[in-house]
């Protein structure tokens, strides 16, 4: 029983990371309607940017965080402007855009590899004493991760419900043509969407590195399928679904890992992903009509 509760606790932390990443990915898919395979690499970019800011300006991980989020967000806008925008204007098939993001993924991942090599990198975060909270055991670091996830989710909620930008995003992912017809400025909208999406990736990357302690240039790409799993379970293009999907994938993989070989932790997520795609590709929370 206590092992089960403990692993649920760990699952919540994993879910926090997946939720931040998943909401960002889902938001972008909803608005632009193609899968970004470079998303995981923006997470990695966030990790290495934190490292650079730490060594160049002596910023601590938490002090560097806001700056990293803004920088990865801008990197996403840059990718859109340089690589994707012309295809969108040409009316290219979404699959061509998807393959283009694979090119971007290769460039980011190998660029980081060229500079830092494949060895493991670490943030300097002092020791972290575990705290007992009811049946759960968390380190303060894990609680920070959890707290950041909650703040990020609230921010996305406020964005989607109460701002003009968020409403435009929802309109665009609901009915693309109608949104265009009523005069939503698509350039403004896609720029902001990419900024927010990849800024979330940057945040998720730093949070992932805080949680797992070490990373390499391929860490983010390796995490991408886990994010896909959460996003698709929740129904792709639906940010609120992604939050729930993250919770499910996070808890399932952590619980499964404590009862079986933990090497297969990711395989559980991938297997679940394939299952959901085959049985209910619209996501398990899809409501009637357009959710």
């Amino acid at each position: 029983m206590s092992i089960l509760l403990l692993s649920v606790g760990f699952g919540l932390i994993t879910a926090s990371v997946i939720a931040i990443a998943g909401v960002g990915l889902s938001l972008q898919f909803g608005v632009t309607n193609f899968v970004n395979f470079a998303y995981g690499d923006f997470m990695t970019l966030g990790m290495y940017l934190t490292l650079v800011l730490g060594t160049a300006f002596g910023l601590s991980v938490y002090a560097a965080l806001p700056l990293v989020v803004v920088l990865t967000g801008l990197a996403g806008v840059l990718m859109n402007r340089l690589a994707l925008d012309s295809f969108v204007r040409r009316g290219a098939n979404p699959i061509i855009l998807l393959i283009t993001t694979i090119g971007v993924s290769l460039i980011i991942q190998s660029g980081l590899l060229a500079i830092w090599g494949a060895q493991f990198q670490k943030f300097s975060l002092g020791p972290s004493q575990p705290l007992h909270l009811g049946p759960f055991i968390f380190t303060p670091r894990q609680l920070t991760v959890l707290g950041l996830a909650v703040v990020a989710m609230l921010a996305i909620h406020v964005l989607l419900r109460y701002t003009r930008l968020g409403k435009a995003m929802r309109a665009m992912s609901d009915r693309r043509t109608l949104a265009r017809v009523v005069g939503i400025n698509t350039t403004w909208l896609t720029d902001w969407t990419w900024f927010i999406s990849t800024a979330m990736a940057g945040l998720a990357g730093v949070v992932l590195a805080i949680n797992t302690a070490s990373f390499t240039p391929s860490t983010g790409f390796g995490f991408l399928l886990v994010i896909f799993a959460a996003v698709i379970v929740g129904g792709i293009g639906k940010p609120y679904g992604a939050m729930l999907g993250a919770l499910i994938i996070g808890v399932i993989t952590s619980v499964a890992a404590s009862y079986m070989d933990s090497a297969y932790k990711d395989a559980i997520a991938f297997g679940f992903l394939i299952l959901v795609l085959l049985v209910r590709p619209q996501g398990i929370f899809a409501s009637r009509g357009r959710g």
Binding site: G30, N33, F34, V35, A83, S86, F87, A92, N93, P94, I95, I96, L98, I99, T100, I102, G103, V104, S105, L106, I107, Q109, S110, G111, L113, A114, I115, G117, A118, S173, D174, R175, R176, T177, F221, L225, F228, A229, I232, G235, I236, G237, D261, A263, Y264, D266, A267, F270, G271, L273, I274, L277, L278, P281, Q282, A286, R290
Partner: protein
């Protein structure tokens, strides 16, 4: 001089093997528009099948553990590799191809590939885990007993024969009604369906044929290198094949071969002798991948059909002089509306 001709023959062998794999992807994507991101899963299936069938019994207490070890001849191993790859593709495709949109199929195939990778790495009893299998016998050298150099030319001849066979098959496929209907599926599934053809069965056949070719390529890779391990089928390898096909020209078999020669062989080997930087041994290799990523994007942007574009059918060439048919070799599944309306 001998060293140079040896070096060229090594490159030529890799070019043949990568060409076979890329032609397999061309059947799937270039002909039928199937977005398979699990190419290397099938290369690995072929390589492992071949290795486990042709290796001798594992010696107890030796450095590697694996199942089977039947010591079968080369041809049996090669055919079995193709058969197993085809059977796995059939099972995966039968469930996945019928239901999934392209991007979901891509995610499913990549997830399938990752699961396979985890199993190959973690189950040491199966095929020696992360260290992989080695000492795979060289085909026919037990009989021929050739010198190191001569054997290489023999293997090159073997690869060329196999490649010629595959090219012939792929070219025939292009011209037959089956090939034409596949291109129809690629351009518009609904139209093909309305002519009473079973689209998912057509796609399944193309998926299986492509997977058989990838597996045969994998078997040749294992036979030539003599070893195979999970690090040989990371997700990046699949994207390499994709880059090769798209840069060379998808839908055109000669384009696939050109891409396979350019991307993995010329690019990888051409930069091999650049001086290494001691502090960062991966620098050159990593830089190579950056260039390939850039090339991929630039190709899509400025020459979306690749270096050797798909040739229009004869009747189209006759009918519209100079006018090319719709240029993107891609199934259009975007109606400007969100998925699952």
């Amino acid at each position: 001089m001998a060293a140079l001709s040896y070096y060229v023959s090594v490159l030529a062998i890799f070019a043949c093997i990568y060409s076979i794999i890329t032609l397999g992807l061309n059947v799937q994507w270039g002909f039928a528009g199937i977005l398979n991101f699990g190419v290397y899963a099938f290369v690995a299936i072929g390589a492992y099948t071949y290795a486990l069938l042709t290796l001798g019994k594992p010696i107890p207490g030796a450095s590697q553990t694996y199942i089977l070890g039947l010591h079968l001849p080369f041809l049996v191993g090669l055919l079995a590799a193709g058969a197993v790859g085809g059977a796995v593709a059939w099972a995966l495709g039968a469930v996945a191809l019928r239901r999934l949109r392209s991007d979901y199929l891509a995610i499913t195939t990549i997830a399938f590939s990752q699961i396979l990778w985890l199993i190959a790495g973690n189950e040491t009893w199966l095929a020696n885990g992360w260290d992989g299998v080695s000492g795979i016998p060289q085909p026919f050298n037990g009989l021929l007993k050739l010198s190191f150099n001569d054997y290489n030319f023999f293997f090159l001849a073997l690869s060329l024969v196999l490649l010629a066979l595959v090219v012939w098959l792929a070219q025939v496929m292009l011209r037959t009604p089956f090939g034409r209907i596949l291109r129809g599926v690629r351009e518009d599934e609904v139209v093909v369906e309305s002519f009473g053809r079973n689209v998912s069965s057509l796609k399944l056949r193309a998926f299986v044929i492509g997977a058989v070719l990838a597996s045969v390529g994998g078997a040749m890779l294992a036979a030539y290198v003599g070893a195979f391990n999970p690090s040989a089928f990371l997700a990046g390898e699949t994207f390499f094949v994709w880059a090769a096909l798209l840069i060379g020209g998808s839908g055109n078999n000669w384009g696939a071969i050109l891409g396979a020669v350019l991307v993995p062989v010329v690019f990888t080997e051409g930069t091999r002798f650049l001086p290494n930087i001691p502090s960062n041994p991966q620098l050159i290799e990593a830089f190579r991948y950056v260039i390939i990523g850039l090339l991929l994007i630039l190709t899509l942007k400025f020459r979306s059909q690749g270096i050797l574009p798909e040739r229009p059918d004869r009747f189209e060439r006759g009918a519209k002089r100079g006018a090319r048919p719709s240029s993107t070799p891609i199934p259009s599944d975007d109606a400007g509306e969100p998925p699952h309306a």
